[in-house]
């Protein structure tokens, strides 16, 4: 009978590698991250420059019927938005006059535009990588896309920054929906969940706010027949995979 002896050298080698990697990451993690961010910026920018023209050419290969349907949907959407826009204009005027009456001081903060070089689905978490160039931003600065508050700067490196979206798993924030202030939790994949008593009437497509800034639209409502609460799922009102530029508040905290 043949007995195989375990090779102790291999086990020791593996153990050494594991310990060295963990120790290096534990003590020098920020330096490692900073070096990789410095390397990544030109690599990802080059990849984006190469890939972007092919993204648009892939649209040519869509089926004709699908394009016709899409066109019809967009026309309908456009009609609806035109009507909605009329209401928005009158509300803007009303808002302006009300602000004049109460002598409202606008809280303006400088916003700078930053290019998104990497976003989900490239990122395993709900994070964006921004190319900032020489612009200075700070941790916790708010990040907006088309006026929608989407997240905060989490890490800043030389020329790049990582933005954590509010929809990151387990991230919580206070939102306002139909006049009710409540806590929403990120689910990942640009989705959120919040729980409200069943007797509060919430409809689909209702806008959810964080302070004055809109953050999302109600996607679906799930209510338990026997329970007293309803789960409300909402998402950002755009596809986070298509975000190419964002605005970053430059307020120093």
């Amino acid at each position: 009978m043949t007995y195989h002896r375990r090779n102790k050298n291999i086990i020791n080698k593996k153990a050494v590698v594991v310990i060295v990697v963990l120790v290096v990451l534990f003590f020098f993690g920020p330096s490692v991250k900073s070096t990789i961010q410095w390397f990544s910026n030109p690599i990802i920018s080059t990849k984006n420059a190469i890939v972007t023209p092919f993204k648009t050419s892939a649209e040519y290969f869509k089926f004709k019927q699908k394009l016709v349907d899409e066109n019809e949907n967009l026309k309908n959407e456009n009609r609806r938005l035109e009507i909605e826009n009329l209401t928005v204009e009158s509300l803007k005027e009303e808002n302006k006059s009300l602000r004049e009456i109460v002598n409202f001081q606008e809280n303006t903060s400088d916003l700078i535009v930053a290019k998104v070089i990497s976003q989900p689905p490239f990122s395993p978490y709900d994070t964006f990588v921004l190319n900032l160039g020489k612009t200075e931003v700070f941790v916790s600065n708010k990040v907006y896309y088309s006026g929608v508050l989407i997240g905060e700067i989490e890490e800043v490196y030389g020329g790049t920054a990582v933005v954590r979206l509010y929809s990151s798993p387990e991230k919580t924030l206070f939102v306002n929906i139909s006049g009710n202030e409540t806590e929403a939790t990120g689910l990942g994949g640009a989705g959120f969940i919040l729980t409200l008593p069943k007797d509060i009437d919430i409809s689909e497509n209702e806008t959810v706010f964080v302070g004055d800034s809109p953050i999302g639209r109600v996607d679906s409502i799930e209510s338990d027949q026997s329970g007293a609460f309803q789960n409300i799922y909402f998402r950002y009102p755009f596809n986070i995979n298509d975000v190419d530029f964002v605005q970053v508040s430059q307020q120093k905290n």
Partner: protein, 87 residues
Amino acid sequence: MLNRILFGIILIISAFIFQWWISFVLSIIGLFYFKHLYEVLAVGIIIDSLYGQGIQLPIFESFNFIFTLILLIALLLISKFKTKILI
């Protein structure tokens, strides 16, 4: 040997330019195909460094390399699994 070097280079570049799951799948395939493919740790470190931390560990809050830790565990488990199959 040349295959291994080429695979290692592709693996590391993939972490920068492809979606995270492509690099993850490549890493797992590589772990089965090559012996002691420590390059997968580089993939984990790159992804964690690029996209920030996913979840915070309750014990070591300053340790932000969760993806690396997952790949490290995969490296150890797959090596052990391969050794058992060979015996």
